[in-house]
């Protein structure tokens, strides 16, 4: 009798476990639509669920014929998983997939992004390692040449010039000034503010403070805004321009203009009090100088 009861209980527990385990499994992706699978893949990628993303991209890859747009997108998704996941990255596999995309569809939109990803893999190395700068520069240059006007090429332009600026060497800095000026004059709308911002950094390194100030103002004027973002505020920009104008260029009128703008537009900002101090300070300095006094701090 006892033996029978124990058997029944064991059977019941076994069935319960089986039911639970069945329920725990990931729901099979029954959809035949690779587009939906790709969307799932990107969603999982965003959620840092890289194993799931890999499954989705692999499934999309397996369910699509080689060549069409969705196949390339699946390849690109999978390449990004291997490239960017932490931990468990596999740069070799990522590189192979990116190269495959470029080989299979060299004129496809994703070929340009794959080319950029390949150069970025060379450029962005772990802390303690130095990138092979000549190779990286050559990579960006080739990309810009191969895909002119593509968004990836414009992004590459920014990276390329950032490398030049980081050297702090005069020749390289002037080269960056030339490149960035040409980029801006070409009328590019994307990355315009960052380009001006990098120019400001160039001018600062070259000791050209007036030009730096102008570039900072241009960068501010071209800043791209999400009107829905409640954190949009220009107090920092006003402060930045005002302090450069006051301390680096000595253009007190411009400095006053931006300090006052900050006080007016952002009365609750943390920089309001020091802006008021700055206005009083500039008045005091000017009065003392006009009175022929030696100005001390």
């Amino acid at each position: 009798m006892r033996y029978l009861a124990a058997t029944r209980i064991a059977l019941f527990v076994g069935l319960l476990c089986a039911a639970v385990l069945t329920g725990c499994g990931r729901r099979a992706n029954t959809t035949e639509n690779p587009g939906a699978t790709l969307a799932d893949g990107w969603q999982n990628f965003r959620l840092a669920e890289y194993d799931l993303a890999k499954q989705d991209f692999s499934a999309a890859l397996a369910s699509t014929e080689k060549g069409p747009d969705e196949y390339l997108r699946a390849e690109f998704g999978l390449a990004n998983v291997w490239n960017l996941r932490r931990p468990g990255e596999d740069p070799a596999r990522a590189k192979k997939l990116y190269e495959q995309i470029i080989k299979e569809a060299p004129d496809h939109d994703l070929a340009a992004w794959s080319a950029l990803a390949l150069v970025r893999m060379q450029h962005v190395v772990p802390v303690g390692h130095d990138p092979d700068y000549p190779a990286v520069q050559a990579g960006y240059a080739a990309l810009i040449k191969r895909y002119p006007n593509h968004l990836a090429a414009k992004e590459a332009t920014i990276y390329q010039n950032a490398i030049l600026i980081a050297t702090l060497e005069t020749n390289q800095l002037w080269q960056a000034v030339s490149n960035l000026t040409a980029y801006i004059e070409n009328g590019a709308t994307e990355f315009r503010a960052p380009a001006w911002s990098l120019l400001a950094v160039c001018y600062q390194s070259l000791g050209m403070q007036r030009e730096r100030l102008n570039a900072e103002i241009k960068s501010f004027e071209n800043v791209e805004i999400d009107p829905a973002n409640p954190f949009n505020e220009y107090a920092w920009a006003y402060w930045n321009i005002a302090t450069i104008a006051e301390f680096e260029v000595g253009d007190f009128d411009l400095a006053r203009q931006y300090y006052k703008q900050l006080i007016k537009e952002y009365p609750a900002d943390i920089r309001v009090f020091p802006s008021k101090e700055a206005l009083a300070r500039m008045d005091r300095v000017e009065d003392e100088l006009r009175a022929g006094k030696q100005v001390t701090r």
Binding site: V249, V285, T296
Partner: protein
């Protein structure tokens, strides 16, 4: 038969007890919840961690009002969960698909966990915040977008990483010094305590010198490990404001950890720097007025001391205001004052206390809507009702908190939290919630250039990485998405984005720029000298001399 049942019970007694308890619990919960709810009614569940009686009472009252005025078919059930278990509870509810329709969000779990929950389990509310709140019809806000009706522009609800609004905040919070008005009068003869530092210390000394009925000395300030930090933000940390004059290298109005490190390394700052000495001095002067062993005590133990009238002052926030008032009811009157602070003419603190600190009041008590909700539109409408001008005012008046919506009246007890009470005699305000923030000194002028340079380079790079590129890659229509992302790309004016980007750099190779530094005397950095001349318009010409700086090596 009876023997069989008895035998079965004897063998499986434990299982039977557990099963019976479970069934009894389920029946009890279901019957309790359905009590008073007519069949066919829409039931909205709301989960939160506010166990204060006034919160539950206020939410119930507002739900009743919503039912009477707006939708007679909606009934609200609250799940008030203790803080200690809220995180686990909300996780299991969300993962199990049994979450309440409305959940309090934003705390009790790490920020990154909330971020993943927002993405997986909550409805984005971005499309609603740009529309007027329908419950503001007939008021000045009838055609004002919801987010613009908030005192803080609804910043708390915005999740940077998602570029989305994910919750509806309902109250604001601030911190002040609360005091026992009757005890203060009895011990010092004063009707209101002074908010000037020296005078306040004298009052504390007077209190400390007197003994109660039990023969023990009165405690001037009830404190604990919880309360200590609260005071620091508005008392001793603002004293370090002048550090920005020495080390705000990138001129963003604050001294970051990196800037402070460089300033110490280069000798621009040290622990003898007056603002830093002042900070420690203030702590040294204040702490003898706490009860002994305060660092090991918890929040409740300090509250007991205050409620038992053994201490005169206690620092806490608006969230405790109503509870303190209720505990003191019939015993003593609770007063609220701003934190004591030195005046600019103070012999020691004067140079580092140019103005009274002003806090940035935070918004909270925020609620998200679960994706699993059966009635998300009703849940949203109820939250909008609570976020309407009149609804928010009424809700917070019952609770005793500060409304989050503009144009609302604050409870009389909390009037001391209004910003006009923060002004000093000259009308200036020193925003100094965080240490080392705020100013640029008259003399600091130009600073070693590497920080600007580095941040310029890094920002330039990061700018292109976040937003434009992401949408270009992940958008379903790449070109359109790229353009859209260009609009969303918020590079340098956004301090929180920069912070997020900095954090990401540690985990994601995208955006990481290998940087090493070497000391490079005489290169690049300049320090200002007094201007040599001024032209007719008052413009001056600067002369600079090189100083030792750090430069970046590729």
């Amino acid at each position: 038969m009876i023997r069989l049942i008895f035998g079965f019970l004897r063998s499986y007694f434990a299982i039977v007890v557990v099963g019976a308890t479970f069934i009894w619990s389920a029946v009890a919960i279901v019957s309790h919840r359905s009590a008073g709810v007519p069949p066919g009614a829409i039931i909205i569940r709301l989960g939160h961690w506010q166990l204060e009686a006034s919160v539950r009472e206020a939410v119930d009252k507002m739900a009743k009002e919503y039912r009477e005025k707006i939708n007679p078919n909606v009934y609200l059930i609250q799940d008030a969960i203790p803080e200690g278990t809220y995180g686990q509870w909300v996780s299991t509810q969300l993962m199990g698909g049994t979450a309440p329709d409305i959940l309090q969000v934003g705390a009790m779990l790490p920020g990154n966990i909330w971020l993943s929950y927002y993405q997986r389990f909550f409805l984005p509310l971005g499309r609603y915040v740009e529309r007027p709140n329908p419950h503001n019809a007939g008021t000045d806000f009838a055609s004002v977008p919801l987010r613009k009706t908030y005192k803080d522009g609804m910043k708390t609800a915005y999740v940077d990483e998602m570029q989305e609004y994910m919750s509806i905040p309902l109250a604001q919070f601030g911190s002040r010094m609360f005091y026992n008005r009757d005890l203060l009068k009895k011990l010092t003869g004063l009707d209101a305590p002074p908010d000037e530092w020296r005078a306040f210390l004298k009052v504390c000394e007077t209190i400390r010198s007197q003994t109660g009925e039990d023969g023990r000395n009165y405690i001037p300030i009830a404190c604990s490990q919880y309360h200590f930090g609260m005071m620091g933000g508005l008392m001793w940390e603002p004293l370090t404001y002048r550090a920005t004059e020495k080390a705000d290298f990138n001129r963003d109005g604050s001294v970051g950890n990196d800037e402070q490190f460089v300033a110490f390394q280069t000798g621009r700052l040290d622990f003898d720097f007056l603002p830093y000495r002042a900070r420690f001095k203030m702590i040294e002067e204040l702490t003898p007025n706490f009860q002994s062993g305060y660092t090991g005590l918890t929040r409740d133990e300090a509250v007991f001391l205050f409620a038992q009238q053994k201490a005169v002052f206690m620092a806490t926030g608006t969230w405790d205001a109503r509870s303190l008032q209720e505990q003191a009811s019939g015993e003593f009157e609770v007063g609220v004052m701003q934190y004591p602070f030195p005046t600019p003419d103070d012999s020691f603190y004067g140079p580092v206390a140019p103005a009274r600190p002003r806090e940035q009041v935070g918004t909270g008590f925020q609620f998200g809507i679960a994706r699993s909700s059966q009635h998300p539109e009703v849940a949203l409408d109820f939250l909008l009702f609570l976020a309407s001008r009149m609804g928010n005012q009424e809700l917070n008046q019952i609770i005793g908190w500060i409304p989050a919506i503009q144009g609302t009246e604050t409870d009389p007890l909390l009037r001391a939290f209004r910003t006009e009470h923060h002004r000093n005699l000259s009308g200036d305000e020193l925003h100094a919630r965080r240490r080392n923030r705020c100013a640029l000194e008259p003399v600091a002028g130009a600073v070693p250039s590497w920080t600007n340079q580095l941040s310029g380079i890094c920002e330039g790079i990061q700018t292109v990485l976040f937003g434009t590129r992401a949408a270009g890659l992940y958008g379903t229509e790449p070109r359109l998405a790229s353009r859209d992302a260009t609009q969303r790309n918020l590079p340098r004016w956004h301090p929180r984005t920069r912070a997020v980007q900095r954090r990401r750099r540690g985990h994601d190779r995208v955006g990481a720029l290998p940087c090493t530094y070497r000391e490079s005397p005489g290169l690049g950095g300049v320090e200002p000298q007094p201007p040599a001349q001024v032209d007719g318009q008052g413009h001056r010409e600067r002369r600079c001399r090189p100083v030792r700086v750090f430069t970046r090596s590729p």
